[in-house]
Symmetry: C2
Subunit: 297 residues, 2 copies
């Protein structure tokens, strides 16, 4: 059983599961686990790890169009090196501060592999939570920010020089799109964050809304760091769309709200395509975009 099937099963048993975060009254809550082997390449500092792990949960709050209020983390390692722990706490606190939330501590555990479990909570705005299921044919398909940031970081971690690793850590410390999520809440009809990459996210959003998407390849905003690591235009597009973990928002917006939505987004909002009928699937410049990307586990 793979993760997607297991998550589907969880969603059947637990009515609130299945979106980026669960909604309980006006509260959203979301939890994630990350560990060294799969999520933190060699060279990732504990400051970056704390920032990124807590940031991933804050990104899920953002994806619901909710205001992030607080986050907690469990820090598990072979021992409790005070400096490493302090760096982790510092990164966790900084990313919370970046989105006006509070880091309020957590728990410690012993593990042979560095592992962290993070939880973030937030308040739904008056616009209500934005689910994955509300896209309608004819609406604009949009994304925040620029894509391929984490893919570029991974390549830079692999180069293993002092400069490349420092730059990779910078790229790994993304700003969760909480301000954008709140700004988009009154406009977006469906929204999610892109933890598994643009391609996979689009397939998930299409499935949840019962629609298809048509994309303009040239319109996808690619992060400038990708240019330094991609061999050609095809690889550039692939790194930006299938690697994942960019933690940008993907959303659908009715045409007549597009201007207001764009104006409200601090990270920038780019239209990359349109919502089409389910039967048309997810295509880019007329060709099928495979459901490829990062599958956790």
């Amino acid at each position: 059983m793979n993760e997607r099937d297991a998550l589907r099963m969880l969603a059947i048993d637990v009515p609130h599961a299945g979106d980026d975060a669960a909604v309980v009254d006006d509260l959203v809550i979301t939890t994630d686990m990350l560990h060294e082997r799969t999520d933190f390449p060699a060279g990732t500092t504990r400051y970056t790890a704390g920032w990124r792990a807590v940031g991933a949960s804050l990104s899920d709050v953002a994806a619901m169009g909710a205001r992030a209020t607080a986050a907690v983390a469990v820090y598990a390692d072979e021992g409790f090196d005070p400096h490493e722990l302090q760096r982790f706490v510092c990164g966790a606190s900084e990313v919370c501060a970046a989105v006006d939330a509070e880091y309020v501590g957590g728990d410690l555990d012993v593990h042979s592999e560095f592992t962290t479990a993070t939880t973030a909570v937030g308040d739904v705005t008056d616009a209500g939570p934005v689910l994955r299921s509300g896209a309608s044919i004819g609406e604009a398909l949009c994304v925040t920010g620029e894509w391929g940031r984490s893919a570029a970081a991974l390549r830079l971690f692999e180069r293993d020089t002092v400069e490349s690793v420092e730059r990779a850590n910078d790229l790994f410390r993304f700003t969760p799109r909480v301000a954008d999520g709140v700004a988009l809440a009154p406009h977006a009809t469906a929204m999610m964050d892109s933890s598994d990459g643009l391609a996979r996210s689009l397939h998930q959003l299409a499935e949840a809304s019962g629609v298809g998407f048509t994309l303009d390849r040239e319109a996808v905003p690619v992060h400038p760091a990708v240019d330094g690591v991609a061999a050609d235009a095809d690889e550039r597009f692939e790194l930006a769309t299938t690697f994942g973990e960019d933690f940008e928002l993907v959303c659908t917006v009715p045409e007549d709200r597009l201007h207001d939505a764009r104006a409200a987004c601090p990270a920038g909002l780019t239209r990359i395509g349109s919502v089409v009928a389910d039967e048309e699937g997810v295509t880019v410049d007329g060709e099928a975009l495979p459901d490829a990307g990062y599958t956790h586990g």
Copy 2:
């Protein structure tokens, strides 16, 4: 660096950490990680594991005198066996239902060892959160329920018969004292749950409040299951006070509120001693009670 020193350091950096749960406005939030090797003896079903792990977080909400509203969990294992996962979700949902909270799903991760990270949130009542720091000399020292339940369960798991393991699983599925915590909130001056055992909890509560405690050994309510596993009276007392993970509440109550507090507690409230001056330390029948118990990690 051991866990207690590390937690102290976390508390220095993060102003809200250090109590059983963090308080953000009127919300309390708490997170824990448990794993197979240290927390789930052989024979623990996934239903029991889901119940117990989520229950441990709900117990922290209870310890603040807050109303539990929701919980999430990360489920990490080598693979996603659908039946085991379903049993875990079922246990997690049941323990939430037992305290009128909602289990709202979570995340999945791959780990070589079965590991779960749970988070619970709750609402502070009008009485406000009950911290560990409010005990005053002369007040009554009280506990909910009966003690030694988890110690007895561990012995029964070790016996490894069908009946003993089934009974051990029953004992492991405790009811988090949320109703008692809410009932005690207007009366208790300091409160915590007993994840590390009664002895250690009393030393922690004493340190946080800057007081000492004097206990009457005969007054400590021992769970009947302990009688079946303890060799003599000394072992009986030790199992009830140092093993830990009973998830009962320990609190201090002014003498004149004791009657009302007792009447309000569904799990029963027993006075086991009194608050004394810091210099007197923690004693039982006049002898020092060592700061011994379960240290996580």
